[in-house]
Symmetry: C2
Subunit: 200 residues, 2 copies
């Protein structure tokens, strides 16, 4: 931070630098951008940050982000409440919504089980999922955690809890991504794609 | 913004997306980062933004950013007040300060003359520079605007104003950047490097 004699600027740069994917140069650029905002704009930006914190909470049903008690998907009467797609993160919900193909509901775990990082089942919303299922409406749970070691382990853990409850538990298909070149596919993905081959 | 049913989140993402070098994916990542901050941290972040706007003003002498009437460089008794390095932007001051070689003072233009963008001499701090010079202490002005068409034009414009005032006006040397490979140097830079060659 050499050279920043202006303490409040240094603090602003520092704030940006803590953000993911933002290095010192970018943080500097962002801080100067904020500094060059009109006063009203800067106040609006600050207020937006506070608002987001103030207003956004978890949907009491699916744990996705929501401003109301229920998120719009849980509130909707057009969604199939018997199918639940379990994802790690609110962003994953957006990814599925973009397909316009899934008509069920979601459950957002807000993380994955990761003993290395000290995250256990009690730190993610497994309890909330179980109590949703206990209400009896859910028939199928699609485990859509990331295809990583931790996402995998979390999917396995949850599926073991759910099977005794008489729920169909499925997992997203593995395979080569559409549009990708096989040449660049890794061995594990290719093996999974072979294993999961379908008769045409 | 399809899929963002959470209005305050959408607004936050939107705010980040307006920033330079931040695309939609990054804006999303930053917004979620802010959302995952502790409440106190978010409040601090918002306050830092407001503080920067509140506290940072222009040094009454060199127009660099300062929290006080004078910036630390103008305040310092160790700096040579007879030499002024004219730069476009506060970040350029930092760049020069990092060299630890320049002992003069600066003058920050806060822009360059750019008729294309509707920026005239009156929109940058030329007037302030002239009134500093009128005080009689300044002997040399180093034009250190960027080596771009606009930086160049601004340097020329200001030097024409200053020369009649009996001031030595110099310009940063052009040449190949240290550590670069000649193979990749552009023709103009190489031509300038040849023109500016020195006897060893």
């Amino acid at each position: 931070m050499a050279g920043y004699n202006v303490a409040s600027l240094a603090r602003l740069i520092d704030q940006f630098e803590r953000m993911p994917g933002i290095g010192h140069k970018s943080a500097q650029r962002l801080a100067f951008y904020v500094l060059n905002m009109k006063k009203a704009e800067a106040e609006m930006f600050a207020q937006t940050i506070l608002d987001a914190h103030e207003k956004i909470k978890k949907c009491s049903c699916c744990c996705n982000l929501a401003e109301d008690e229920l998120c719009p998907i849980c509130k909707s009467t057009n969604r199939d409440k018997s199918v639940v797609c379990v994802v790690e993160d609110p962003r994953d919900v957006l990814a599925f919504e973009r397909t316009h193909e899934f008509e069920g509901t979601y459950h957002v775990l807000h993380g994955v089980i990761s003993p290395m990082n000290g995250v256990g089942p009690e730190d993610i919303t497994v309890k909330e999922l179980l109590s949703r299922i206990a209400q009896g409406e859910i028939e199928e749970v699609i485990m859509a955690t990331n295809p990583t070691v931790e996402g995998e382990a979390t999917a396995m853990y949850i599926s073991r809890l759910l099977k005794p409850m008489g729920i169909t538990v499925s997992r997203l298909a593995y395979g080569v991504p559409v549009g990708a070149e096989l040449e660049y596919a890794d061995e594990v993905t290719l093996t999974r794609a072979l294993e999961g081959r379908r008769t045409l």
